[in-house]
Symmetry: C2
Subunit: 463 residues, 2 copies
C-alpha cells in the first residue's frame, strides 16, 4: 500500500477518495470515547492535520485510545469524504501501528506557549503550529531563491567561510584556530606564532562572500552566493544573530539601476512563490502573528518600490513631524528608527535609498561624480528596516586604489581584488540580502531567533 504524505492527500484529494492509503505521522490531539476515537495526525509536510477515526474493531483499540500526544504512528485506512465537517475528508483506520511512544510530560501540550519558552526546546518546537509553518516557509523561500536565479542563468557560487580578509573593512569577526588556547605559541617578540596554526596565518569567519563573488562575476557574468555569514557583534537585538544566511548576487555589465531592478524582481518573485506554495501558512501568520501581513505582501507583489536618494531622505526625515532618538544630519548613518519611518510612514512600501555619503560606506562602492557620495543602495521594508544592502562596485583601478589608501587599508591584502580591475574589469554591481530578515518579513515573525532552526546569539548556542 502506498505511504503518502498529508500534503499529497490534501493537494490531490480527488484521486485518493475511497482509496486505501498508509500514512505516518505524529499525534497532535486524540479524543476517545468507549468505542471509537479521533486522532489529529500531523506529518510535518502540511500545515493542516489529518483527521483519523478509529473504533474498537482495531485489535489494539485500548492501547491507541490512551496514547500520549506526539507518539508516532503508521496508519492504514480508507480516505472518506466528509462534506458536513470542517475538514474535507478523514481516514477510517483499519490498522494503527505505534512506531514510537511519547511520554505524558511532552512539553508541547495544547496550551499556548511563549516563543521565549519554545526557544529553550528548539529540538521540539518545529512540532508546534507556528514553527512548523515558519520552517516550511523558510525552505520554500530558499528554493524560490535558487529557482529565480537559475531561471535567469546565474551561476551559484560557494564562496569560502574561513578567510584572512575582512570584506567590510570593519565588523567584529570570529577567530578560527587550531592553536592550543592553553598554550598559545609565541615568537621571540611575543607576537603569536601563527606558523603553527592550521592556515599559518590569522584566520576568521567571513562577514560576506562579496569579494570572492566578484571574481566569479567577472568570469560568469552573473553569479550569486547563498550561504552562512557571521558577525561577532555583541548586539542583543531581535534583528541580529551571530550566524545567519545571506544571498549575494553579483552582476557584470550592470550598474546601480540594474542592481535595484534585480533586487526588486527577486523579492517580488520569492514572495509570490511562497504565497502560491504556502497559502495555509500565510493564512495562519496573517491570523495569529501579524494581522496586516497578507495585505502588505500583496501590495509588495503588485506595486513598484519607492526610490529616494540619501540626501532627499535626510531632508524628508528632518521635516518629519516625529521625535527621533537620534537626530538626522547629512553624513550620519541612518538608524533603524529612520529607516522604518521612511518605509512605513512616508512611502508605506519598500523603498530604495541610494547614493550614501562615501564616508559611511565600504571602500569598494563606486564613487559618484560629486566626489562625496557612492553608488550604494539600501532596500528598506516596513516592519524590518534594511533588508538589502548593495552597490555598484568601483571598477576604476586608480580610484579604487586611492579609496583603499584613504581608508588606511593594506593594498597588498587586496592584490587579487585589484587585479580584477586590471584584466578586463567592467562595470558591475551586487547586493546582499539577509535571508532571515526576508523570512521575518514574509512570516511577520518579529524575532530573528524564531526564524532560524538553532539560533546562535551572544552567550547562546545550546543544541
Amino acid at each position: 500500500m502506498q505511504n503518502v504524505s498529508i500534503k499529497e492527500l490534501y493537494r490531490n484529494k480527488e484521486q485518493y477518495m475511497d482509496q486505501k492509503v498508509s500514512i505516518s505521522g505524529w499525534i497532535r490531539t486524540l479524543r476517545d470515547s468507549k468505542s471509537f476515537g479521533f486522532i489529529e495526525l500531523n506529518d510535518g509536510t502540511f500545515f493542516k492535520n489529518l483527521q483519523v477515526v478509529f473504533d474498537d474493531a482495531l485489535c489494539n483499540f485500548k492501547e491507541i485510545a490512551k496514547l500520549p500526544i506526539s507518539s508516532s504512528l503508521t496508519i492504514e485506512g480508507t480516505v472518506v469524504a466528509t462534506p458536513q465537517a470542517k475538514q474535507p475528508f478523514e481516514i477510517k483506520a483499519v490498522s494503527i501501528v505505534v512506531e514510537g511512544l511519547s511520554h505524558s510530560d511532552f512539553p508541547l501540550q495544547k496550551k499556548r506557549h511563549t516563543f521565549e519558552y519554545l526557544r529553550t526546546i528548539a529540538h521540539l518546537r518545529p512540532r508546534s503550529n507556528a514553527f512548523s509553518a515558519v520552517f516550511r516557509v523558510r525552505s520554500v523561500a530558499a528554493y524560490a531563491i535558487h529557482k529565480f536565479f537559475n531561471e535567469k542563468g546565474f551561476v551559484y557560487t560557494h564562496t569560502p567561510l574561513i578567510t584572512g580578509s575582512d570584506c567590510e573593512g570593519a565588523g567584529e569577526m570570529f577567530k578560527v584556530t587550531t592553536l592550543d588556547l592553553h598554550n598559545i605559541p609565541k615568537n621571540d617578540d611575543s607576537s603569536i606564532n601563527y606558523k603553527e596554526d592550521f592556515f599559518e596565518k590569522e584566520s576568521n569567519l567571513t562577514v560576506s562572500g562579496q569579494l570572492n563573488a566578484e571574481c566569479f562575476a567577472l568570469a560568469f557574468k552573473n553569479v550569486y552566493t547563498f550561504g552562512p555569514t557571521f558577525r561577532a557583534e555583541n548586539s542583543n537585538t531581535a534583528r541580529h544573530a551571530a550566524e545567519f544566511w545571506m544571498i549575494e548576487p553579483e552582476i557584470s555589465f550592470a550598474d546601480l539601476k540594474d542592481d535595484m531592478q534585480l533586487a526588486e524582481d527577486m523579492l517580488r518573485y520569492v514572495i509570490k512563490y511562497v504565497m502560491d506554495e504556502c497559502p495555509e501558512e500565510i493564512e495562519f501568520f496573517n491570523s495569529f502573528i501579524d494581522k496586516g501581513l497578507k495585505e502588505r505582501l500583496n501590495h509588495v507583489v503588485s506595486s513598484e518600490f519607492g526610490k529616494v536618494s540619501y540626501t532627499e531622505a535626510v531632508e524628508l526625515l528632518k521635516k518629519a513631524d516625529k521625535e527621533f532618538e537620534y537626530a538626522v544630519e547629512w553624513g550620519c548613518d541612518l538608524q533603524t528608527e529612520h529607516e522604518r519611518y521612511l518605509t512605513e510612514e512616508i512611502f508605506k512600501k519598500p523603498v530604495f535609498v541610494t547614493d550614501y555619503p562615501k564616508d559611511i560606506k565600504a571602500f569598494y562602492m563606486r564613487l559618484n561624480e560629486d566626489g562625496k557620495t557612492v553608488a550604494a543602495m539600501d532596500c528598506l521594508v516596513p516592519g524590518i528596516g534594511e533588508i538589502i544592502g548593495g552597490s555598484q562596485r568601483e571598477e576604476r583601478l586608480d580610484v579604487l586604489e586611492q579609496r583603499i589608501e584613504e581608508l588606511g587599508l593594506n593594498k597588498e591584502d587586496y592584490w587579487w581584488y585589484l587585479e580584477l580591475r586590471k584584466y578586463g574589469g567592467t562595470k558591475h554591481a551586487g547586493f546582499g540580502l539577509g535571508f532571515e530578515r526576508l523570512i521575518m518579513y514574509i512570516t511577520g515573525m518579529s524575532n530573528i531567533r524564531d526564524v532560524i532552526p538553532f539560533p546562535r546569539t551572544t552567550g547562546n548556542f545550546e543544541f
Copy 2:
C-alpha cells in the same frame, strides 16, 4: 536592443537568426588582418565562444584590433548563419564598446597551464575552459540537488555551523572564539575562562549537521541540509579539504534499505540532470580530463548499484589477487585502496557496503540483531572511493544511552538528542554526501582543490 547571453543565443539560435542583438563578454582570442578581424568572445554562461567578425567600417577598428585578450566588450551586431563553418553562426559587429581594457601580461594566455599553477590565480582561473566548465557544472549540480529534494517534498533545513557538540565523537575541529589570543582569560585554577568568550563556552565549527537535522526529521518527516562543514585534519591529500559542502538528508519512518534507495535515486537524478543541462561541458571533460567519463556516467544512470555487506566485502578482499598496502581483517576500517578495489575491480560500478562493525562507526548508528554490527552503509564509486556515508539511526532510547556510555561520551551533552527518542521517536535514517566528491565524480577532476572556487587546505587560504 536586447542584451542576450551566449547560452541563450546557442540554445535558441533559430529565433535570433538575422536579428540584431547586443552581447557582452570577454575576449578569449583575437585575430586581425588589415581590414577585418575575428574575436572569440566568452561570457561565462556557456562553454562555447561566440565568433564575432568586425571590419574597418567600425570607427574604432584600429583600437579593437589591438586589444589584449580578456578585455571586456559590449558588441552590437547581426546574427548570421555560417553553414560552411565549424560554429553554426557568427555576429557581424556594427559597434564594439570597450568596457574594460586588459593588460598584455594577463596570466591566462592561450598555452596550457598546469592546474597547480592555476590554483595560484584562483581569482582568474574561472576564465579558463576547464574551470569555467567545472564551476558551471558545480552550480547545475547544486540546483539539481535542491530540485530533487523539493520534488520529493523534503524540507530544506539550515543547521548551525558554530556548535558545542562534536557529532562524530571524533574528528579534528576548528575552534571559534572572540577571546584575545594574546591574553587568554584564565580562571583561578588556570583553566580558560570561557565566560568571557562570545558563547560563554568552548565552541567549534561543525563536522556535520546530522544531529540537528534529526530534530527536524522528527517534525517534518523528510528533511535535508546542504551547507558547509569543516575538518581541521592535517591530511594533505587530493580528496580532503578543510572546508567543504555536504548534503545530509534525514528520513523518518524509514530504514537502511529506504536510505540506500534514496541515495541511489539522488545520485542518478543529479548525474542525469547535469548530463542533460551541460552536454558541452561533459563532452569537454570526456575529451580532455577523463576519457572514460561519459561511459561511466551513462552506466551509473542506467544500472542498479551493487550491494555487499562489510563481512562479505572483507572476504572478497582477502581472496583478491592483489597486494594491498594495508592488510584487511574483519574489524578494521576499509582504506581507500580497498574501497576502490571493490567498486572498480570487483563490482565495476557504484556499490553500497553495509553493516559495519560497531566499533569503527559512530554511536548513533542502529545496532543490528547480531550485537556486533550496525545498520550503516557507505556508497563507493569508481575513481573516488567513499562518496556517501549513512546509517539507520538508533531509535531505542535504552540502546542509545548504553552506546553513549560505552564510548565514554557525556550523556548530558546529548540531552536534546536523547529526548527525540523519548517523545515519539521512530525508525529513521540518513546519509551525508560530500558535494565536492560528487563534482569530482561528475567531472573527472582528480583534485578536490580544483572543484572548490577558493579551496581551504592546510596552510592555504589565499583569496
